[in-house]
Assembly symmetry: C2
Homo-oligomer: 347 residues x 2
């Protein structure tokens, strides 16, 4: 079966100069994928031509006359730019023309427009953003929420845990993903009131055999890979994510500066080149690009705004994997089972 | 003037085998310092003798028959172990025999016993933990709270900002330290309700010329060094700190594994040794050891539980610098000015 993905080609810091090469490279690797490229038609066609893909059989170009800028207020993205590439790309999912959508646009706008166009999944109060970080077990740790919900109640965090568990199950093929609740200590008595109440909710699902709740985890457990999923509110998740990005940038800066300090250190670096290459590869943030907006009636993936083509391609790949593994139906099923407030349907 | 510091020599993962060599090394560098070493007298004297410091003129050994273990419940630390090395060391500050105290014991116990023995400073609702992290400007960023207060109101964060500002002023000699409020974005409209209300309080002090409030900062700004102080609640601060420790450990693991992979990479690493040495130095967590418990009627410093001697010495140094620069009086003065609820006195 063909997997169709719509792409907001104008979003992000670089626009088509990144999204188009990423799209072409992705198609070359996945023969059952088709892409709908959304944006200013002239610009997209020119960029495709530049990469000798002007008549690629698995690419459809869809014109959208407007563009959500990185600093556009939500209001503008939502109400004024009704023909933005972001919105048109999301509408492809709503209309069943694509199984997932990818954008590198402003996160707040992407979430707001996605909620407006796709609506929230039945049984879910608030969609959330699930991203991945590397761990010492050489696998990914899924962390959510990374910033969509800055004030959370226990039942929100509970839903994040369910959604994260489904995503890992579908994407990584892990039967019963372990779930950790991000806290300031691993003991049950630790944490604030919201976290303690969430822990009680997760414990119930664990005892019923519905979720594999590990208990509390701490910030360093993300990188130890203690659990497959780490659940937190969007304020904590966003701060942690950016702190980690900050320290990674700091580390890279120190490494580069010191290895280039003089001819001798440069010689050593040249000889140890294979190691440095592997280090760069293992620490490469591109590999971890592509966060899922979960809890909507359709799949939306967010690329980092500053992503280069390699990283952007990873975001497309995540959207493709999620569509292929039917994350959306699995989400609906488990949410309907564990949050039986109303009939769960996928829009 | 002599600066006297009391040291809980039994605290931490390693106890006297780390605290004693750190104490001796510190004294060798600071001729105006005197140390009160608290713990099991026999054990301490044996360790001192081992390091040929059995009769050091600036060391006093003070016997304490008990010891707070890393996993002792607060209740035990507070009510049962009244002759613990931690408590006796803190009592030296209360009794005016030491100007500051250092412990690597359990953070929760250290804060609880410190509050019990020293009491909270007038005008301060809740003491907090202020630690430092490295930044790209090669200076330290002071971050607080790192975990003492998991549920905070705006006036708590406001007080943390005041205390952080005083600490940076005294320790770094910066006239008007800049203060950032940790948030999920830099725009004023971002964040949860507590952060927005805190921002308004800090803005008032800024306009009165009392605090140098920069505005919102994000997780990566800690490492960019955007502001001298970063203020957050203890839940967020603790998660961020541990996430950063986690990713730093992950980097170190990858770097070491890859450079040792084969004879060629090892040769390259040997040639670039001076660079690797400088990298280790700049990223050395030992340099950033020693967090301040601020808002008590006396100075208490917390070393990382797993600190080795070099790191522990840094914690002693911070306590010494704080005492020498009269942080306690400066704190009392600014709190009295900005939080004029009652007369501020130092116990």
């Amino acid at each position: 079966m063909t997997i169709k993905i719509s792409i907001d080609c104008m979003g992000g810091d670089h626009g088509p100069s990144v999204t188009i090469p990423a799209a072409i490279s992705f198609l070359n690797r996945e023969s059952d994928a088709e892409l709908i490229l959304v944006g200013l038609e002239d610009v997209l066609r020119a960029e495709l031509k530049k990469h000798r893909a002007g008549d690629h059989p698995r690419i459809t170009v869809l014109h959208a006359s407007e563009q959500v800028l990185m600093d556009d207020p939500l209001e503008v993205a939502l109400r004024r730019k009704k023909d933005s590439s972001m919105r048109v790309a999301i509408e492809q999912v709503k209309d069943g023309k694509a199984q997932a959508c990818v954008s590198a646009g402003n996160t707040g706008a992407l979430m707001a427009v996605s909620r407006y166009v796709l609506k929230t999944m039945a049984g879910v109060d608030r969609p959330a953003i699930c991203g991945i970080m590397p761990n010492q077990k050489d696998g990914p740790t899924y962390v959510m929420d990374l910033g969509a919900n800055v004030d959370c109640e226990p039942h929100h965090l509970h839903q994040f845990a369910i959604m994260g568990s489904v995503l890992v199950h579908a994407m990584e093929g892990i039967a019963r993903p372990t779930i950790g609740l991000l806290n300031v200590g691993t003991e049950d008595i630790k944490g604030n009131e919201v976290v303690k109440a969430t822990s009680a909710l997760l414990q119930i699902d664990h005892e019923r055999g519905k979720l594999n709740f590990h208990g509390n985890v701490e910030g360093n457990d993300i990188f130890k890979g203690t659990t497959d999923v780490v659940v937190c509110d969007g304020f904590v998740g966003n701060v942690a994510l950016k702190a980690v990005e900050g320290v990674a940038g700091f580390f890279k800066m120190v490494l580069t500066t010191e290895l280039k300090r003089n001819p001798i250190t440069m010689l050593g670096a040249a000889i140890a080149n294979s190691a440095l290459k592997r280090i760069r590869q293992r620490l490469n943030p591109a590999r971890y690009n592509g966060a899922s907006l979960l809890g909507l009636r359709g799949l939306v993936f967010k690329s980092h705004g500053s992503a280069e083509a390699e990283a952007y391609e990873w975001a497309i790949r995540r959207a493709y994997d999620a569509a292929k593994n039917d994350v959306q139906q699995q989400l609906a099923d488990l949410i309907a089972e564990l949050m039986p407030r109303e009939n769960t349907t996928i829009g």
